[in-house]
Each structure stands twice: as structure tokens, then as C-alpha cells.
């Protein structure tokens, strides 16, 4: 999970404006979080009229921000706050996707509860779901705020601080139509002649990551279901031991107290599985991150394709010019055919054509140069973000696994405790 840099980090970064000290300073210190504390503190239900004038219930989330004084005195500033709903977060994210296509944009928590095991509610209004979403939204904001590029975005800053007029502001950027065409482009099929091997591998990796995380989430849901059953059935022992103890003399006490331990055992699974939801949420985040990674790769493919197309167009125009100059027709063209059939063109006509072609070639050269630059820059930026992402991912997932192991250890220790207690009771029977 992202964390905010401390004051020492802020010190260091002032000596290193270009951020060349890379690994030494956590990137967060160079970003917005250096100046500002961000949290999603609360969630509330609201009712209001929607776009089609119908009454609906929805949840809003309180975003609190507080200036952080780099002198690290006790913050006395009270936080600013505003309410936002999920759809506004989505708007923000879509804007970021379009504006920074080379960035692996942090994902939002899921819109609807998925990979749910039966005891957990799939209802969006369920308080547990809302709570987990609140945490997920906070995590999203922190990740964006700690990103070296995204954190400097004004729209993002205003999202955190400007309650009114933000929606209009973001719409005015004109990102919406770009978002629509981006989506179309990402889904289009086209073939790149010389794919960049690194990006191909990256895309392959993103597919793998998506696949394994979703498999794990599916398995986890089924495992949770079964484990729940195992623990809960033990609760039945509690009742039957109690009933049995009623007809026993010497064995009664031991049975009765053992029964209580069985009840405790059965009850313990609720907390255990609730904790496990955190692990599931961490997996989900990276499931969605994989999607974002794939999008970056696809965008690169698109640029590559456009570059190749531009190069190809230019080449064919140049060829046309050559043909026109030499008078030979090497390539088939309708003009060529008609001139053969209806007679040659006049020198004036040819000159005019030549001028047009030269213009087009000029434009084509410029376009090619543009595309090349665009592509190179994209590759550079995307690759840099990819490296940042890899470091983050490795760290996060490692931590996730550690906390999962710690959870398992805790669960085992609880189990040993309960059964040891029960055993003591049994031995006193």
C-alpha cells in the first residue's frame, strides 16, 4: 500500500530536483503526498434524483485533505473535506487514462462485488462492502498522489479540493470523446509488422497476471465457503455435548466445558475470513492493474501501427513521384490506365500533379517524424513507468504474501489453543 513520505525524505528530495537519486528516496516523497495528507474518512448513504428524474440511493465518500508542514510540527490545520461518489472517481480515472496513456494508472476498487463466497453479501449497499470500498478508494487516491507524474495533475488536485465545478472542469478538458475513441482503438484488431519484443513480452505477462490472480480469487472464494462449513459444523458438538452432559455424573463437567470450546472454535471463523478479505482485495487490485498494464501495451501497439502506416504511406507517395518523374508506371493506378487508354497528360498537368505529390511527401515526412517522436517518447515514458510499477508490484505482493502467511499462522495458533483447551476438558471427563 502506498505510504506518505516523511520529513527526512522531503529534505533529501530538495537536494535532488531531478529525482536522480531514484531508489534512495521513495518516490512518494517527490510527489503530492509530501505536501498533503489524503484520506477517505467516511461513507454515507444519500438519496436524490438522478438524470432521469428518478429517486435513487447511492453512497458518497468523504475525502479529507490536510496540508503537511515540512517543518514537521504538529499539524494544527483542520482538514478540508468534500464528498464524492464512485462515479466521480471513475470520471477522474478515465481522464487520467486518456491524458497519460503511457502510465499504468492505479485501478479503482471493483464496481460490483465479485468472487464472492456465499456468506458474504454481493449487495453494493452492504456495510462491509461499502467499508472495503472506502479503503479501496483511499488506496487509489494515495497511489495516484504518490505517482511521480499523475500527482502533479491539476484535475487530480482539484478533485481533492474543489467540491463545486470539478465535473464541469474535467469535461472542459475534452477528454470524454478521446476516451471513447481510445476504447474503440484498444479493441480494434490490427497487425503490427515489427512488434517491439519488450512490449510483446509485457503484454504476455499482463495476460498471465490477470489469469493467475483471477484463478486465485475464484479458488479462494470456494475455499472460504468450505472452511466456513468445517468450522461451523463443529459448533454442533457444543450443543450435543451440553445435552449429553445432562445425563452424566462424572463426565458432565468436562463435556460441558469442552462444548463451550467447540462453540468458540465455530465462532472464530468469522474473523478469520474477514481478515482474509484484505488479501483478496490486494489480489483484486493487481488483477485490475494487469488490465491497466495491458492497456499501455495496446496503446504502444497502436502507435507502432500508426508509425508503420505513416511510413508506408510516405513510401508509396515517394514511389508515385518517382514514377511520375520517370514516366514509367511500375505500380498500378487508375490514372495510369486511363492515361494509357486516353492518351498521355500534358506537361502542365504532370507538373501540377508533381507539386501536389511533393506537398504530400513533405507532409508525410513531417507526419512520420511526428509519429516517430511520439512513439519513441511513449516507449521511454512507458518503460520508465513499467520499471516503477515492477518495483511497486514486487514490494506489494511480497508484503501481501507475508501478511497472508501471518494470518495463516494466527489461524493455526488459535486452532491449537482451542483444541488444547478442549483436550484438557476431555481429559478431565
Amino acid at each position: 500500500m502506498a505510504d506518505s513520505g516523511g520529513p527526512e525524505a522531503a529534505q533529501l528530495s530538495s537536494n535532488d530536483p531531478k529525482g536522480e537519486l531514484g531508489d534512495v528516496i521513495p518516490e512518494e516523497a517527490r510527489s503530492l503526498l509530501r505536501k498533503m495528507e489524503i484520506s477517505v474518512a467516511e461513507a454515507e448513504k444519500r438519496t436524490g434524483k438522478n438524470a432521469v428524474n428518478m429517486l435513487e440511493t447511492y453512497t458518497v465518500y468523504l475525502i479529507e485533505t490536510r496540508r503537511v508542514d515540512s517543518s514537521a510540527e504538529n499539524q494544527n490545520f483542520s482538514p478540508d473535506s468534500l464528498w464524492r461518489r464512485y462515479s466521480e472517481f471513475e470520471l477522474l480515472r478515465n481522464y487520467l487514462l486518456v491524458t497519460y496513456p503511457f502510465v499504468i494508472v492505479p485501478p479503482l476498487p471493483e464496481k460490483r462485488a465479485e468472487f464472492v463466497w456465499h456468506k458474504l453479501s454481493a449487495d453494493n449497499m452492504d456495510p462491509d462492502f461499502v467499508e472495503r470500498r472506502r479503503i479501496g478508494l483511499e488506496n487509489f487516491l494515495l497511489r495516484v498522489a504518490s505517482h511521480p507524474i499523475l500527482s502533479n495533475d491539476k484535475i487530480f488536485y482539484d478533485f481533492l479540493t474543489e467540491e463545486n465545478g470539478w465535473k464541469e472542469e474535467v469535461m472542459e478538458t475534452g477528454f470524454q470523446p478521446k476516451a471513447d475513441s481510445r476504447l474503440k482503438a484498444l479493441n480494434a484488431t490490427f497487425r503490427v509488422k515489427n512488434p517491439d519484443k519488450r512490449f510483446t513480452e509485457l503484454k504476455h505477462y499482463s495476460d498471465e497476471l490477470q489469469s493467475v490472480t483471477s484463478q486465485l480469487l475464484r479458488v479462494r472464494a470456494r475455499v472460504a465457503d468450505r472452511l466456513y462449513g468445517v468450522y461451523k459444523v463443529h459448533g454442533n458438538y457444543g450443543r450435543v455435548f451440553s445435552e449429553w452432559s445432562a445425563i452424566e455424573r462424572e463426565m458432565g463437567d468436562g463435556l460441558q466445558s469442552a462444548g463451550h470450546h467447540m462453540d468458540a472454535y465455530a465462532a472464530s471463523i468469522d474473523d478469520i475470513l474477514e481478515e482474509e478479505e484484505n488479501y483478496a482485495d490486494q489480489l483484486k487490485e493487481y488483477l485490475f492493474y494487469a488490465e491497466a498494464l495491458k492497456a499501455v501495451c495496446r496503446k504502444h501497439e497502436l502507435l507502432q501501427y500508426e508509425l508503420e502506416t505513416a511510413a508506408q504511406d510516405l513510401m508509396s507517395k515517394k514511389q508515385q513521384r518517382e514514377e511520375l518523374a520517370s514516366g514509367t508506371v511500375r505500380t498500378f493506378s487508375l490514372k495510369g490506365m486511363t492515361s494509357k487508354l486516353f492518351g498521355q497528360e500534358t506537361p502542365e498537368q504532370r507538373e501540377a500533379k508533381m507539386r501536389v505529390l511533393e506537398e504530400q511527401i513533405q507532409e508525410g515526412e513531417e507526419l512520420l517524424q511526428e509519429k516517430k517522436t511520439e512513439c519513441d517518447e511513449y516507449v521511454r515514458n512507458a518503460w520508465s513507468d513499467m520499471e516503477r510499477f515492477t518495483v511497486q508490484k514486487d514490494r506489494d505482493l511480497r508484503e501481501a504474501m507475508i501478511s497472508y502467511a501471518v494470518m495463516q499462522i494466527s489461524m493455526c495458533k488459535k486452532g491449537i489453543q482451542v483444541w488444547t483447551n478442549a483436550k484438557e476438558c476431555f481429559s478431565k471427563m
Binding site: 497476471l209 458438538y237 468436562g254 507475508i402 483436550k423 471427563m429
Partner: protein
Amino acid sequence: MSAGTPKSLPSSGQKSIQDISHPLSAEESVLTPSPDVGNTTSSLGEKDLSLPNGTPAGTSSPGSSSSLLNRLQLDDDLDGETHDLFVSVDDPKKHVSTMETYITYRVTTKTSRTEFDLPEYSLRRRYQDFDWLRNKLEESQPTHLIPPLPEKFVMKGVVDRFSEEFVETRRKALDKFLKRVADHPVLSFNENFNVFLTAKDLNSYKKQGLTLLTKMGESVKYVTGGYKLRARPLEFAAMGDYLDIFTQKLGTIDRIAQRIIKEESEYLVELREYSPVYSSWAGCEGELQKPLEGVSSCVSSSSSALEELTEDMSEDFLPVLREYVLYIESMKNVLKKRDQVQAEYEAKLEAVVLRKDEKSGVPADVEKCQDRVECFNADLKADWDRWQNNKRQDFRQLLTGMADRNIQYYEKCLAAWESIIPLLQEKPDIKSETD
């Protein structure tokens, strides 16, 4: 010299190393545990001990029984009964003949009793033989509670009769059965039991159809003559009620245990899905490869531990529960028989009372009936107490066993997860990564 009746052997003090409140030790300090039980014998012999009722105690005990005691597991039997007969069932072997395939078990006997020609016997018996023995005991000792045998019928195709697990479960139950009979003050002296333990050719003995009588047994014929019982004595009514409720509870526990095993098995199936996914994820990662492989193997270990748990519970826990259900069935039958005997007596008595004009005095056959009732009641009461005691031990053992297995399961899982924490925390050298 060994005693003719169970209670008079004073050296039964040696039998239990843990035994503190033995009647004989009332005048002596607590017998200290001694590896060489022989010493205790002689020290006992030198003191002037007498039984609580004043009977002077014998000064020596047969050396053979004291050395036997060393090697055998002793119950904390506190009623001062003799243990001069030790039996065990082990070493199952498969026999294949043209007609059939079956398992035999080695039955070993070690005893100091004079009813036995030799001090030691070792021969092989099959389930059929145990079944025969039990039927004979039921016939000849109808006033007693006969311990149960493991289930006779096994559904072919569902259970493998020759699998190690099944045979071992059965062996344990047969061993328990035989030990319970050997520990019983009356049943252990039954002629059929003696034959079972000693006869080389049991089959020919069975065919002879000899029905040897014990003092209490055959002469009394129990007819289910449709006599109506007037008033069941409270204690036997209580026994009946207890058994009814206890059966119910056992049935519930059996169902719960089965359900747990089923849920655990299904949990196991899903749990197994984890490992390959983690492994395949490890395959496409760099720095995370080792940690992911670690998690994969951890989950595998947990799965194996769980499998062991469910198997153990199936093999060890459920059969014992079922055995008790059978036990209770046969006990209820004995209670019914007792009711019948009492009813018969009451009917006959009533008939006599009505015939007031006959010479006074209770006729012989009515007296015999009364005797029967009283003997039956006494036997049953004694057996009931013994049964309650055994039941308590059995269930204590059964349930602590269940707790133990669960503890072991969690300990195995704990060890696995704790072992990968250092692996997960170990960060590879960053410098080398950027080359």
C-alpha cells in the same frame, strides 16, 4: 498358588503402578513405582497385610503373573480386581484358499489361572470365531452385558475388506472385545472363552455342539412368555432411560463427525487447487518467483496434513462410536430380558397368592424365580457399574484422541507457514538486479 475366586489374591496390589488408593495399601504407604515388580512382591510378602474384611492375605504371588504385568498396559482399575489373565489380538494375515479369502488374527493369552492347562497360548482366529464366541457368551451368560464386536457386514465395493486401514480398525476392536471379556470377573471364566483361547481346532469343537454350562447359565431358561411387568425398579428404569438418551446423543455425534469429515474432504479438494496456480504464477515472475513457490509448497503441506486428519478421523473415531451404539443395543436387550424374568416371577407369585387355600409357604418354583430375579439384578448392577467406568475411559480416550489429531494438524500447518516467513522476507540484492 492362585486363587479359585477372583477377589482373594492380595498381590493384586502389584498390578497397577499408578494405583494409589488400592484397598491393600490402606495400611501401607503408597506403593512406589518400581521397574522390577518382583521386588514389590517380596516386600509385600514380608508385611502383615490383610484385606479390609480381615481375611489374612497370602504372602506370595505367582512369579509368572508379576513379570507378565510388567509388559502389559494397565488400566486404572480401582476396584481391586485381579488381573491374572492377559489377552491380545494382533498380527493380521491374509489367508487365501480355493474357497475363500479371509483374515486371521493372532490371539495371545498369558495367564496364571488353573483353569488353563498352560500359562501361555498363541493361536490364530478369524472374525467368524469371535462372532461364535460372542453368541455363546450371550447364550450362556444372559444376565450379563457382553461387549460388542465390530460390525459384521461390510458392503462389498464400498469398503475394501482387505485394506490395511480396515483390517487395523477391526483388529483394534477385536482386541478391545477380548480384553473386556478377559477383565470381566464372570465372563472371563466362561468355558467357551477358555476354549476360544486354547483350542487348536476350534471348528471341530464348534461342530461338537458342546454346550458347557456355567453355574449361573443354562439351567435357567428365559422364555419371552409375554408376562407383563408390574413395576420396573427405579434403577433399571433409569438405566433404560439413560441408554435411550445416550444412544440418541451418540447418533448425533456420529452424524456431526461424518459431516465434519465430509466438509473437510470438500475443503481439501478446493485447497488443492491453490498450489498449481501459485506455481504457474511463479513461473512468470522474477523476484517473486521464490516467494510464490514457497507459498505453493506451504499450501501443499497443509493439504497433506488435512488429508491425514480426515483419514485418521474416519478410521479411528467413527468405528468406536458405532461400536458403542451396538453395545447399547445388546444392553437394552439384556434389560428387556431382566424385565421378562421379573415379570414371570411376579406372575407366578400372584398366582400363588391367589391360591390362598394351599399350604403356606412359597413353592419351590416361585422361589427359584425369585432367585433368578435377584441374581439377574445383581449381575446387571455390577456389570452396569463396570460398563459406566469403561465407557468413561473409552470416551475420554476417544475425545482426547480427536483433540490430539486436530492439534497435530494445526501444528503441521503452523510449522509450514512459519518456515516460509524468512523466505518471504528475504529481499534479493538490488544491485545485481539492475545489471
